[in-house]
């Protein structure tokens, strides 16, 4: 029986160690009940401590925007913390500038709630809801962009045109956890029972691959929103809008909202960049709107139109076309505002062109989530 002694002793030691680790974990990581005070006590949440601020708030239906779902790789979930939660973590520093650090802005996915904490968040976030939606339509609007319509199953969403929602992608294939990605709503605010988004396939992208290859009509999908502050201003300045690809989404929402609500006196110029004719979406719809709405001008431009496509519109990079119109066609005596939807690179390039043409940077609006 001697041969059994060693394994039994090892098993007993391992068991004792496991129990000790479990007890220590419960003692060390048991922070008990803590309070999160939001906006100087306007809302107080009581919950068990130990989780991240992002997850703790979400467990109480307060949703901070996060493009990566809490993995610390997008830097979107910034939140002002006005109580002491310790030093900045190395994972936060790349996403914060000096000014933000001076205001104690933190990444809510990295800060752990270990004791009572005071935070400031935009009031709009109190209106953010989680929707258990059902896909009622999936349609190809180009070879790599799908239009998706989700029914909110009895719930309603209230939002300003230009806002976005986060789509929660469940685990699939090799992807073990859930993933969240932000998509602008292309539906109109008046359509309260549905949400429409446009999703372009990103090669290798976790969320877009799921949407393009796994998502089917009839499936249930979690959506969280509305988020963002991208919207048309309440001035009468000419709107100069620029987008490409699925960046069409917020403008489709804004333009139809304006047209259907009779907000048609304002001058609107909409520049849409694509490579070839097969990359342009809603061409007919936008041309129809242009024909019906005197002050709306739709300017699609192709950077590499196919030979024989019969394209008679503008050609070249959208920034060059924009520059030309700002200099020669869009009334320079009137106030002008910029509206952009695209990648950080596209936004930077358009900012450069617009500011060079006397549109002040603080009159150029965009959602910087891409």
């Amino acid at each position: 029986m001697d041969y059994l002694t060693a394994p039994i002793v090892v098993a007993i030691i391992a068991g004792v160690l496991a129990a000790a680790i479990s007890i220590v974990d419960k003692i060390v990581n048991n922070y008990g009940e803590v309070n999160i005070s939001i906006n100087k006590g306007k809302k107080i949440l009581t919950l068990n401590g130990g989780d991240t601020l992002l997850s703790s708030l979400a467990s109480k239906e307060i949703f901070i925007p996060s493009a990566c779902g809490g993995r610390g790789s997008c830097g979107a979930c910034k939140c002002q913390v006005i109580s002491d939660v310790g030093a900045y973590l190395p994972t936060e520093i790349p996403y914060l500038d000096k000014e933000e650090m001076g205001k104690n802005i933190r990444l809510s996915c990295q800060v752990k709630v270990k004791s009572d904490i005071d935070i400031l968040i935009p009031e709009d976030l109190f209106n953010v809801k989680k929707f258990n939606s059902r896909v009622i339509s999936i349609r190809d609007v180009t070879h790599d962009i799908k239009e998706l319509v989700f029914d909110l199953q009895g719930e309603e969403i209230t939002f300003q045109a230009g806002r976005y929602v986060q789509l929660v992608v469940p685990p699939y294939d090799k992807i073990k956890g859930t993933t969240q990605r932000a998509y602008s709503m292309s539906s109109k605010p008046g359509d309260k029972n549905v949400i429409e988004v446009l999703i372009r396939l990103v090669p290798g992208g976790i969320a877009t691959t799921w949407v393009h290859t796994h998502l089917k009509e009839g499936m249930e999908v979690e959506l969280i929103g509305p988020f963002g502050d991208f919207e048309r201003s309440e001035t009468d300045a000419a709107m100069v809008c620029v987008a490409g690809g699925s960046g069409m989404a917020p403008f489709k929402s804004i333009l139809y909202d304006m047209f259907e609500n009779g907000d048609i006196d304002r001058e609107v110029w909409y520049f849409f960049g694509a490579r070839t004719t097969k990359d342009v979406l809603y061409l007919k719809e936008m041309m129809d709107l242009d024909a019906k709405w005197e002050n709306f001008h739709f300017i699609p431009a192709l950077s590499e139109p196919e030979e024989g496509s019969g394209w008679t519109g503008e050609t070249g990079m959208i920034t060059d076309v924009l520059d030309n119109y700002l200099k020669t066609k869009i009334d320079t005596d009137k106030a002008r505002e910029g509206y952009l939807c695209g990648s950080p690179g596209m936004i930077a390039a358009c900012n450069k062109v617009m500011t060079a043409n006397n549109i002040p940077l603080d009159k150029i609006y965009y959602d910087n989530f891409a």
């Binding site: 997008c74 979107a76 790349p94 956890g177 090669p203 490579r275 920034t319 690179g345 596209m346």
Partner: protein, 150 residues
């Protein structure tokens, strides 16, 4: 083959869910040192150097960025679409932080494509690591040769 502490740490960081959901190792259970030795040999067999490949990829990424999210034809040979989402990723070797830029590079004459990121170009150039077999961003030397040096 013996791994340095820095390599061990890098291998931990490459596991799924640490930096990116799927990790960098693909289906492989080997040490990254063994993978790097094997892939250096594969690159050499294909007649490629890491510097030369890195230089070409950086050039195509830079040219592709001029498309502002739309595909652009580069040197009449490649169609490059660079995606520029929000966010950054740290290198698993902990020597830098990179924007989440990714590029799909298509050789127009054959239609064959490769997928690279800012981080995968850094991993190739600085660490001679081209990701494990089965990883969606692995750069197979033979495919690199066909697409980049045809």
């Amino acid at each position: 083959m013996k791994m340095t502490p820095a390599m061990k740490k890098a291998q931990e960081n490459m596991a799924p869910g640490i930096i990116i959901a799927e990790g960098f190792l693909g289906e492989e259970n080997k040490s990254i040192k063994d993978m790097m030795v094997r892939d250096e040999s594969e690159m050499s067999k294909a007649g490629l150097t890491f510097d030369k490949v890195g230089e070409r990829l950086s050039y195509l990424m830079e040219e592709g960025r001029k498309g502002l999210g739309e595909p652009v034809t580069v040197d009449k040979k490649w169609l490059v679409r660079v995606i520029d989402p929000r966010g950054k990723l740290p290198c698993p070797f902990e020597d830098g932080i990179f924007r989440k830029l990714s590029a799909e590079i298509e050789l127009k004459s054959s239609g064959e494509k490769i997928l690279v990121t800012d981080l995968s170009i850094h991993l190739l150039k600085q660490h001679h690591f081209i990701e494990g077999e089965g990883s969606r961003f692995r750069m197979e030397p033979e495919i690199i040769k066909r697409v980049l040096f045809a």
